[in-house]
Amino acid sequence: MKSSLTEGAARAQLPAALPEGNSDGTSNGKKDSKQDGKLSLFRLLLKDRFATVSALVLILIGLTALIGPALMGDLATKQNLLFANKAPFTFAHGWEYFLGSDSLGRSMLARLVVASRTTFSVALPAVAVALIVGSLWGVWAGYHRGWRENVSMRIADVIMSFPSLLLAVVVLYVFSPSSANIVLILALTRIPIYLRTARAESAELQSRTFVDAARTFGAKPNAIIVRHVIPVVLPTLLTLATLECCYVMLAESSLSFLGIGIQPPDVSWGLMVSQGRQYLQTAWWLSIFPGVAIVVTTIAANVLAAWLRIATDPAQRWRLALPRKRLIARIPAKETQP
């Protein structure tokens, strides 16, 4: 009984789930968008300026993280104590100091670039691990229901009420403060989010006719989960994962603030914000630039995720297909419809 109560709760974890949950055509929707193919999705993207810009920003940041560190060489670690805290936005000291220098005279630009890789190499694996473990577990628990579901939900409760700070200290103490270990902590603490969402979706799906049909034809539970449940649940979970990237970046930065996150000489955006905070009054750029990097990345990812959510949902998709002017004109018309 209890499980059905949380079901709705977990589904409501994210807005993405709602259109699909409300309109019964979730599964059909996915098929439709697949038939349309990638090209039309791309055209739709170009129609939405905000989404296009977001996509470009993300691609740019992704490329930076991928190849930037190699281009920067040792610029990010080259210190010059006589050249500390130089103000940004001037080419007087060469392009590498366009964003100023940090408290040890290192190029802010180079450090931001190198930090982007660390930031993503923490955020993406943490989200990926939590997503995979949490989703599979949740789908499995939701499909089978009964004690498996109950035990899983109680485990999620346990993880959620466990202080992640303690985990961080334990990991730092027993292992070493590497980014791999930060990934471990963040992944572990975020598993319940996916677990709860996936379980709710899957619990609802397992009672649907197409799953029933598969069952009557003698398909094994695991095969049904893989073939019928996961494909339907996946878009919701992926959208959730996009939102979670932001949370994980912030969590990593909070750990740095408390002194138990990424440790120098490694550098991440979160660590840069945290280390730069003491210079807020003397050299604001040390913490503002990495902060802006986090905010821009998050907004871009969110805008794109929101767009993708609509674009893959047949009940909403017409909004994107319409030319902008007609779209705006249409809504009031709809509202005043008697």
């Binding site: 209890k2 974890q13 807005p15 485990i155 409760d157 009420s161 930065s253 603030f257 969110n302």
Partner: protein, 309 residues
């Protein structure tokens, strides 16, 4: 409902035990606190005496049995750091965090409902764009950074608010504003999303066709359905606040449970850590139960499912 409540409470006991056992074991993996509490040049005898005095020389299962024996007698042990009763310290710190978290969430929900509905009336309109941009930005700013900038701007430059502390109503503003942003940012998007889809549902069209006013449509029909997900997400965010007020409490000198927890972790003050974790875990479990019940009350749609299960 009462049966359900009883069942939920009963089924929470074991997970709570697991939390405590986990904290107990993990905390002891972080090393013997002797070096932290003894002078740097303490001899081995002094270290041994310290361990014996605090029962740290026993094997882990024995320590744990002792601890649970104590818990049954409501004895949660003594703080290594202050020598005070651990449970008393946790209970003293908890209301401060609870007040902060509750005020923050109430404000976040109210603000998010207004902004979210406003945005949902014209999907992709100007209001929608602005509010989603603002809410996403709000949700992605590092909180400690915001807190320090807030102090700088509002306490030092403008002089409107105190920098920190707990004295006076003004002292609440910055901590709450700092804590508020993320829940607000997330909730706006939730409310907006569910309002947009609720407003395009057939029953809304039906209500409109029956001549219901727009205000009535929004508040009575759409919002009622959109509020349920907002409530549940708000619940999850509250759990995050209770656990995560550490940063804000650290910066503003707010004497709450988050600060107590991080201090006792860093100071290896095991008894206090366990008491604080137990208290927050109980609160979180209770909150989860309340959320589920609230959800069931608010959203009539899940009731048939309830019967089925």
């Amino acid at each position: 409902m009462l049966i359900y409540l009883r069942k939920r409470i009963a089924s929470s006991a074991l997970p709570l035990m697991v939390v405590i056992v986990g904290v107990f074991a993990l905390a002891r993996m972080t090393g013997n606190p002797a070096s932290l509490y003894l002078p740097l040049n303490a001899t081995q005898q002094m270290r041994d005496a310290f361990s014996a005095r605090n029962g740290l020389d026993q094997p882990l299962p024995v320590q744990m049995a002792d601890y649970f024996g104590g818990v049954l007698r409501l004895d949660f042990g003594q703080s290594l750091r202050t020598g005070q009763d651990a449970a008393a310290m946790a209970l003293r710190a908890f209301p401060a965090t609870l007040q902060l978290a509750a005020t923050t969430m109430v404000l976040a929900i109210l603000l998010a409902l207004v902004v979210g509905c406003w945005a949902a009336l014209k999907p992709n309109g100007i209001a929608d764009r602005i509010s989603s941009f603002v809410s996403m930005a709000a949700a992605s700013i590092p909180d400690f950074w915001l807190a320090i900038v807030g102090i700088w701007v509002f306490a030092i430059t403008l002089g409107w608010l105190p920098t920190s502390g707990v004295s006076g109503a003004g002292a609440w503003v910055l901590p709450i504003a700092t804590l508020l942003l993320r829940p607000f940012g997330v909730l706006v998007q939730i409310v907006r999303g569910s309002m947009v889809s609720a407003l395009s549902e057939p029953y809304i069209k039906l209500a409109r066709s029956r001549g219901a006013g727009e205000l009535r449509v929004v508040t009575h029909h759409a919002l009622r359905n959109a509020a349920a997900p907002a409530l549940t997400v708000a619940g999850d965010l509250t759990v995050g606040l209770v656990n995560g007020a550490v940063v804000v409490e650290t910066i503003f000198g707010w004497p709450g449970i988050g600060k107590l927890m991080i201090d006792s972790i860093l100071q290896r003050d095991f008894a206090v850590l366990q008491a604080a974790v137990l208290l927050t875990a109980v609160a979180i479990f209770a909150l989860n139960i309340l959320i589920d019940m609230g959800y069931a009350l608010l959203d009539a749609r899940v009731r048939p499912v309830t019967v089925k299960a």
